[in-house]
Symmetry: C2
Subunit: 124 residues, 2 copies
């Protein structure tokens, strides 16, 4: 299943970051990239997930599935994030049983969005 | 453009709601439905947008567009929410200029999720 794990790389997580220093968001992205994408998952850096009051943030999405966005993440959570993305990709419908979700996903959900209606071309 | 405005109807917004009383989420949905959907928008009630710490919540999505989720909404915001949904639907790419967004959308964003990759059928 074509799952995307978006990682906000511009996030400053409320901190003042000296010019030239990596943002907390870019550090999170690097930590996740170093672990590597699980099967069926593509890791995509993105500029701002508009969760600035709850940064850093990551989002999981795939065609025909609920999308999820999580906040208050740091590079210390990289392994849990990758495990959560793997579980989402592996679940037949993207609905991971509650107890199988990483604790940070259970406690730090910012929101979820229902599957987007099929593109007209796909509905034919 | 096939825009969906999802409204969480199960949200209690942190309140204790006596059994049989409408939830704040269902009141918000009713207020929005009474105003009516703007052109190109479908209003869809949904059970839980997982934004419970920031309820009530609504989400905007459409095929090929960024999705947005907003929190700390109440029925007092129904007109602004409908206006924001109309602007999203009317924008050619769903990207509404910052200043044209309702203030509650500018200040109460919980997150946004990039467009989801096309369904395989649509990519042919």
């Amino acid at each position: 299943m074509a799952t995307t794990l978006h990682v906000c790389i511009t996030c400053r997580a409320g901190q003042t970051i000296p010019e030239g220093e990596p943002t907390p968001g870019s550090r999170l992205h690097r930590a996740i990239a170093e672990i590597g994408a699980p099967p069926g998952v593509t890791i995509v850096p993105v500029q701002c997930l508009s969760a600035c009051n709850n940064g850093c943030s990551v989002a999981l999405s795939a065609p025909g599935r609920w999308s999820y966005i999580y906040g208050r993440m740091s590079e210390a959570n990289a392994h849990e994030i990758v495990a959560g993305a793997a579980a989402y990709a592996a679940a037949p419908d993207g609905i991971v049983p509650w107890r199988s979700r990483p604790e940070i996903f259970r406690k730090q959900s910012l929101g979820r969005i229902p599957p987007i209606a099929s593109l007209p071309e796909a509905a034919k």
